[in-house]
C-alpha cells in the first residue's frame, strides 16, 4: 500500500472523530487522523461531559441509549474520570411535575430506568435546593466524564492499532479520492468528516449552525451537590428555537467542583464571555440553588455546539459524493452520543446493518 493511502481518513479529533478513529482501528482498518489543534480541543473541551438520555425525540433517545451502553465500558477507565452521579430532574411546580409521568414512560420504553421523586425525597437527595420545589425524576445510572481526556485516550488507543495521527495539520480541501492537507500533503482513501462546527467549511451543502454556550466552574465544595441537576424544563431550552435561552443545569465534578450551565445562543460567533448571558444563567441557577451565590468561581468559558436544523446529527454517506462520510452536528449531546455514532457509522461504512435504524441521521435527509 502506498504511503498516504488509508482505509479511512478521519478529519477532526474531537470526541466524535476520536471515537470513529478508535472504532475503525479496532476493525483493523488503516486509519489516518488529521487534527490541527489539541486532541479534543474543540467543542469537546468546552462540554460538561454529562452522559444523559434526552427523551423528547425518539431518534435522539435511541442513539443516546445505544451509546450509553458503550460508555459502560469506560466506567473503570481512570482517563475517563467517570463518575456515576445520576441525573436528578427537578420540578419547581405542579405543571412541571405533571410532565414526569410522560417522561418516565418514554424513558422506560427506551429501556432507561427512572424514578419519580416526591418533595421530601428531593430534599433528602439534594438539601441545598431552594425550598418549595415540587419534586422530580431520578435517572440513577447516568454519569459524567471528562471529555477531552477520553478523546485523547481514544486517539492513543487507535494509534496503538497503527492509526497515524497528522497532528498540527488540517484538511484544506476534499480531493478526488481523498483530502489535501494544509502543508500540501495529499492523503488517499475514504474520508470521514468529523469537524464539528467547522463542517460547512469543507461541506457547505449540509446546514449547520454554531450554538454558543457558557459554563462556569467553582472551587472545590465536596458534598454540596451529589447529582447532576437539571430543571425539567431543560428540553425547552435545549430544543427550542429561541435565539437565546438559559436553563438550570449543575454538575458535581469528581473533584468536588461544581460546573454550572447552561446557556444557548444562536448568532453569537465570538468566543468572548457575555456578562449578560452569564448573569441570566447564574440567576437561573441561584433561583434553584441559592447557596451557589457565595461560592467561588474559578473560570468561565464559552463553547459552540454544532447544531443541525432538526437537532439530529449527520451520520452516514454524503449524498452525491463517493467515499465521503460525515459524523458531525451532535449539538449539546455529542459526548453522550459519540460512541454510538462511531459504531453506527462503521457499520454503514463496512456494509453491515447497524444495531439501530440509521435513517433519522442520514445526511441525505437534507436534500430530500
Amino acid at each position: 500500500m502506498n504511503a498516504g493511502s488509508y482505509d479511512l481518513i478521519v478529519v477532526g479529533a474531537g470526541i466524535v472523530g476520536a471515537s470513529c478513529a478508535d472504532a475503525a482501528a479496532a476493525e483493523g482498518l488503516r486509519v489516518a487522523i488529521v487534527e490541527p489543534g489539541p486532541i479534543g480541543g474543540g467543542a469537546t473541551a468546552a462540554a460538561m461531559g454529562h452522559l444523559v438520555a434526552m427523551d423528547d425525540d425518539p431518534a435522539e433517545l435511541a442513539l443516546a441509549r445505544y451509546s450509553l451502553r458503550q460508555w459502560e465500558g469506560f466506567a473503570d477507565l481512570p482517563e475517563a474520570e467517570f463518575s456515576r452521579c445520576g441525573t436528578l430532574w427537578v420540578a419547581r411546580g405542579e405543571t412541571e411535575g405533571a410532565a414526569i409521568a410522560t417522561r418516565m414512560a418514554r424513558l422506560a420504553a427506551g429501556g432507561v430506568e427512572a424514578h419519580a421523586i416526591d418533595a421530601q425525597n428531593l430534599y433528602e437527595l439534594e438539601p441545598a435546593l431552594a425550598p418549595g420545589m415540587y419534586g422530580g425524576m431520578l435517572v440513577p445510572h447516568e454519569a459524567v466524564v471528562y471529555p477531552p481526556r477520553v478523546a485523547r485516550y481514544l486517539v492513543q488507543r487507535a494509534q496503538t492499532r497503527h492509526a497515524r495521527l497528522y497532528a498540527g495539520r488540517s484538511v484544506q480541501r476534499l480531493t478526488h479520492g481523498g483530502v489535501m492537507l494544509d502543508d500540501g500533503t495529499p492523503l488517499h482513501g475514504p474520508t470521514l468528516l468529523a469537524t464539528g462546527c467547522a463542517l460547512p467549511e469543507l461541506l457547505p451543502q449540509l446546514p449547520l449552525r454554531p450554538r454558543r454556550g457558557h459554563l462556569v466552574i467553582t472551587d472545590r465544595y465536596p458534598g454540596l451537590l451529589r447529582h447532576q441537576l437539571l430543571e425539567l424544563g431543560y428540553a425547552d431550552s435545549a430544543h427550542g428555537d429561541a435565539d437565546s435561552s438559559v436553563a438550570f443545569n449543575v454538575q458535581p465534578r469528581p473533584t468536588g467542583q461544581i460546573l454550572i450551565g447552561s446557556s444557548r445562543e444562536f448568532g453569537a460567533t465570538d468566543t468572548a464571555v457575555s456578562p449578560a448571558m452569564v448573569q441570566r444563567m447564574l440567576e437561573r441557577a441561584f433561583s434553584f440553588m441559592p447557596v451557589l451565590r457565595g461560592l467561588q468561581a474559578l473560570r468561565i468559558w464559552t463553547g459552540f455546539r454544532p447544531t443541525t436544523p432538526d437537532g439530529l446529527p449527520y451520520l452516514g454517506a454524503v449524498p452525491g459524493r463517493t467515499d465521503v462520510w460525515v459524523a458531525a452536528g451532535h449539538e449539546g449531546l455529542g459526548v453522550t452520543t459519540a460512541l454510538g455514532s462511531a459504531q453506527l457509522l462503521l457499520d454503514l461504512l463496512l456494509g453491515r446493518t447497524p444495531a439501530i435504524d440509521p435513517a433519522p441521521y442520514a445526511p441525505a435527509r437534507m436534500s430530500a
Partner: protein, 435 residues
Amino acid sequence: MTEPMTEHYDVLVVGAGPAGLAAAQAAAMHGARVGLLDAQAQAGGQVWRHDVRRAAPRAARRAFASLENVDVLARHSVVAAASHSLLVETPDGARQLRYGSLVLATGARELLLPFPGWTLPGVTGAGGLQALTKQGWPIADKRVVVAGSGPLLLAAAATLRAHGTHVLGIYEQAPASAVHAFAWRLRHWPARAVQAVGLRARLAGVPYRCGTFVRAAHGEPALSSIEVEGPHGVRRIECDQLAIGYGLVPNVELAGLLGCELEHAGAHPHVRVDSLLRTSVPGVHAAGELCGIGGLAAARIEGSIAGHAAAGAYGNAAALLPQRTRERRFAALLSQHFALAPRLHALATPQTLICRCEDVTLAALDGFSNARDARLATRCGMGACQGRICGSALAELGRFPRSGSRPPLFPARLATLAVAEAESFLPNDYRGNRT
C-alpha cells in the same frame, strides 16, 4: 439582585503599592478625579505591606498622607475587564468602575521553583513568609532558613529576625563572584548601598552563603530538615521553616486581559510600554514591577510618570525620564547578577508535584509542548491559583510558556459574576473552552 454600583474616574489606578500610590498622587495633582484600588485591606503593596509590629517607613507614610484628593478603594479586587470598565469584587458586593484612563500597577509575585519536598507544610516563599509575619502570624522562636535568590532574601530575613525568629542562614544561589560584583556596582547607587549595609547590620551574625541552594526538603508530616548544596558539598540542616524564593515574576494577568502587548524577553513576560509608560492599548498605562522587575525606586518613579501621563500632563511625565533610566539600569544589574543557575531547573524529579492545586507531577507533563494541551490532558493549572505558581515554574523550567489570561482574574463569588453591565468581558480573542 446584585446591581453593581457604577462609578466613573478620570484616572483609575490598580494596585496601591509604591507605583500605584505615586501614580494616584501625580494624577490627582492635575485635578483629575482619581480612584486607587487594591485587593488588600491596606495600601502599601509588597514592600510597604502593613506590619503589625513596626511603623511604616517614612517614604511610605508620606505616600499614604498624600492621598487626600484620591478615592482610596481598599479590598477591591479586579476580577474581570470590559472596554473602559473593570468588574471589581468588594466585601459588600460587586462594583463596576469606569475610567477615562487606567494605570496598571499590579506589581509582582514570587517565583517558586519545584524541588523534592517543596510542597511540605513549613515550606513557603521568602517574601510570602515575610508577608505572613508582618500580618502577625506567630513565628517567634522558630528556626528558619531563608534561601533562593536576590536582595529580597535579605529583606525577608530582616523582617523575620525582627519578629523574633532564629534565622539559621541565608542561602543565595548566585555565585559569590556575581554577588560581590553586584555589591561593588552598588556604589553608583549610594542610597541602595546604604540600604544594603543597613540590612546586613540588622542581620549581623546570620551566615550568608553564596553559590548555595536547597536540593530537597524532608519531614513527615511537616518540614523538619533540608539539604543544601554549595561549593563545599551537601549539608543537612534541621529547621522548622524554609522561606525560599527565586526572584519575582510580574503580575501581567490584568494587562493581558485588557489586550496590552507583552514583552517576552525571558521566561516571564512583562508589559511593553513606551517611554511615557503607555501600553499598546490607548488610555492604559503601566508602572512598577509589571513593566519588568525593577524594585522599589523604579516603581515609585514610574508611578509618578504614569500618573502624570494618565492625567495628560506629559511635560511633568517627561521631566522624570532621566531618573527612570537610572533606576532601570539598576534593575538590569539585578537580573544580570542574580540570574538563576541552570542546575536549579533540574532539581525536580519526575515524581515532584508541579501543580499542587491539581496534584500533577513533572512526569505527567512530559511530551507536552504548550500549556493548553497539557491542561486539557492533566488539569495542570486548572486550580484555584489559576496556574500562577505552576505556570510560571514551568516557563522557568523551559517546558512551555504560560497561557493567556481569562476571567475571572482571581477566584470570585458567583454573585459577583452575575452582573450584566458590560457588553462583553475581555479578552475578545478568547479561546472558547475550559482552558
